[in-house]
Amino acid sequence: MNVGLIRINKHFGDVHANADISLTIPEGRIFGILGENGAGKSTLMKILSGYIQPDSGEILLDGEKVLIDTPADAIRHGIGMLHQDPLDFPPMQVIDNFILGERGSLFLSYKEKIQEFEELQGQFDFSLDPKAYIDTLTVGERQQLEILRLLWLGAHVLILDEPTTGISAQQKEKLFEALKILAKGGKTIIFVSHKLEDVESLCHSVVVLRKGELVGEVRAPYRTENLVEMMFGKQITLSNPRLLAQERVVFDIEDLVVEKYPLTIGPVNLKLHAGEVVGLAGMEGSGQNVLLRACVGLIRPVSGRVVVNGQDMTHKNYPGFLEHGVSYLPASRLEEGLVPGLTLAEHFTVTAHEKALFIDKGYFQQKTEKKIEEYHIIGRPGTPVESLSGGNQQRAALSLMEERLAVVLLEHPTRGLDLESAVYMWDKLKERCTLGTSIFFISADLDEIMRYSDRILVFFSGRVSPPLDASQVSLEKLGQMIGGKGWGQAFA
């Protein structure tokens, strides 16, 4: 089935997630969609599979215009989507999941179904036990089941969203073989990924998305540098940031290994100097946030040590880290950053950790006003935090942190912020660096990583590079490593 997307537009608030995207995807081929996080890949695929509706644009199947409002519509038109996280029912058996979603018969004939299931999986050399329970399966096996199920439901178009995350090398090989068989049989395969290697070895052709726009289409064979440039844009000129770092080590990570299903992260070795900025680069879900949480006592590491100002903090909990001047600002501002329903003044009161019984409202009013001015927060002391804009929330969260901290850990400090707010945020963070605070931050934005970091750790599926000197590493090289290439050289 040939798939056509014509001038698809989708906005999320101010973000133009898909800008006028037109594509033709021919049947019988494996078609890659490449781009970094937030490039708009998933949005586009969710539109095609009925999970979200576009603001404008058309979908053509074999040249005919169709309306796809729900995932059920998509399946009826023969479009099946394999999600990054398998959408199955863990307490049930493989065969139950297989049958689920099938229309029609009220009564089930298990024997028949199992036979049909075995025949189908035989075509792809899969070996799933129909009686096994889902929660005993690996991610790769669940994926195989989902593919079989979608085919069983009559899918002609298969969309795979980052299918190689969290599966073993053998399973990946099997998956690729199955996809090739399917393509040969005339199915349309859409392969969404950020992994250059996978795309290069599998796809007949690739389109690259960047910041919601279609950058271009390339056919195999590919030039890696070309794809990296399409994904991340032109080289940027860099300022030399490495001025604030001092000799003193404030935060010492030694052979730290952290596990969070399905990733094993590390071992990580890093000595963070006072005033230094270290950026964690990598695709989302490659293990950066797991490492960060292990560095503030929110996740227990498997092995290794975390030392803050000479004190071993490895098995301390979060309040212990906080006491030793390690502060953490997560990406989800209103879930883990600020308390919705409380005003700005109430936030400053709560974070003062006063011993007194009664609140000195006048004092905290003044303190809040001072901070509001200092951090350019647009709001009043009585403004509930949830009604502040994203940038103002982020500034408020920063202003709540104590002045003299050893380390500040941040997840996506400027995500969702406009340029001005982002620049302001970093000005404030750099101010803290001059006071000797070190910064350890995650960002999906390579520009941000390159511009503000002294050193960089690159993550790929739980693998962590040694600290790379930001002034020595090129954007292209970084892009390749994020896509899982050139790791051999990095360690040399």
Binding site: P319, L322, L334, E335, V339, V350, T351, A356, L357, F358
Partner: protein, 350 residues
């Protein structure tokens, strides 16, 4: 929409809820063949018809003040302390226990009463702490834990009344042996209204009002309730504050139970909590958890309770009718809040 208009809007919906509740109860009354107007009139008369009736209303008002005040503390931390009934019962049991212990001792009765009330408060707080431990460290939802503990408390109470503390020869549902008069709380002359109870109840309300409005403690409770994960990240020990809120509420529930023993029944009876805990939950929901409204709404509920007493005699209606009215008031006002949000949401969406 500006704030003043939004507020007027909201009042309108609340009044609508009250009207609907009365309409609903009227329909039920018509269905059972009673005249709604006569019934409502009887309710009013039953509550304020005479000085002793007003005194009776105040006797019900006091425990409602205390439990609702306590419940606002647990609601601040976002917790549903259904276990409050058991906490009241435990308070009553410990108070009775202490008084029985010192009945024959030569301590001054006033001292014994004070001691017994403190014991009751501690009992309530500890029973609440159990629910808290189950919630914070055991991962048991406080509603399930609280319900379970309520049953245990009731069983314990009945067990004592029919067992260890039973009347000689005639263990019965009427409770344990009444205490001698010197172990009773003093009352106003010729009324059953006890003035120390009144003082303690009003004091309790004032304490909670200021605790929630103006203290660091109260603000931290609120932060935990509104956003536990954020509060934790901002350095508030969330488990500790959840435990504390349970225990403060338990303290108030225990005091309620203690006062029921020393000021109302002068003994332990099987239904010592009188369902005031559940009624308090309803009041808290009805007033949308604002302490300033506790006193009037609790008074209204107390009046309904007392006003309903004579319904069976005069109208041949069951006195549980007042419960129906109380319940439907809460339901309809909550429904109207939901309706309001939908209407407002639509207005904003356009």
């Amino acid at each position: 929409m500006d704030q003043a208009r939004a507020r007027r809007f909201s009042v309108l919906f609340q009044i609508g809820g009250i009207v609907l509740a009365f309409v609903f109860v009227s329909v039920i009354l018509l269905l059972v063949g009673a005249n709604p107007l006569t019934t409502f009139k009887l309710l009013v008369e039953g509550a304020v018809g005479s000085a002793s009736r007003i005194s009776n209303v105040l006797v019900v008002w006091m425990p409602l003040l205390l439990v609702t005040s306590g419940l606002l503390v647990t609601f601040s931390t976002g917790l549903w302390n259904i276990g409050i009934e058991g906490q009241i019962t435990l308070g009553a049991i410990l108070t009775t226990g202490v008084i029985r212990l010192f009945l024959d001792a030569s301590f001054p009765p006033v001292l014994v009463i004070i001691l017994s009330i403190i014991a009751g408060m501690v009992g309530g707080a500890l029973w609440a702490a159990l629910a808290g431990l189950l919630k914070t460290y055991g991962g048991v939802n406080e509603i399930f834990g609280g319900l379970g503990l309520n049953y245990i408390a009731t069983a314990l109470n009945i067990g004592l009344i029919f067992g260890a503390w039973s009347r000689e020869g005639i263990a019965s549902m009427s409770g344990t042996d009444p205490f001698p008069k010197e172990f009773w709380f003093p009352t106003f002359e010729s009324f059953n209204l006890s003035w120390p109870s009144l003082v303690l109840s009003i004091l309790g309300l004032i304490v909670i009002f200021f605790l929630l409005q103006g203290t660091h403690f109260g603000l931290r409770l609120k932060a935990v309730g509104k956003g536990m994960r954020s509060a934790f990240r901002l350095g508030i020990p969330t488990k500790k504050y959840m435990m504390l809120s349970f225990m403060v509420c338990g303290l108030f529930a225990g005091l309620t139970g203690a006062l029921q023993v020393v000021a109302v029944y002068h003994r332990l009876i099987p239904s010592i909590s009188s369902g005031y805990g559940y009624l308090g939950l309803m009041i808290a929901m009805l007033i949308n958890f604002r302490a300033i409204w506790i006193a009037p709404i609790a008074l209204f509920f107390a009046a309904l309770n007392i006003g309903g007493i004579q319904l069976p005699i005069v109208q041949k209606l069951d006195s549980s009718l007042t419960g129906v009215l109380q319940g439907s008031l809460v339901l309809f006002i909550l429904i109207m809040q939901g309706v309001k949000q939908r209407v407002l949401g639509k207005a904003e969406g356009e």
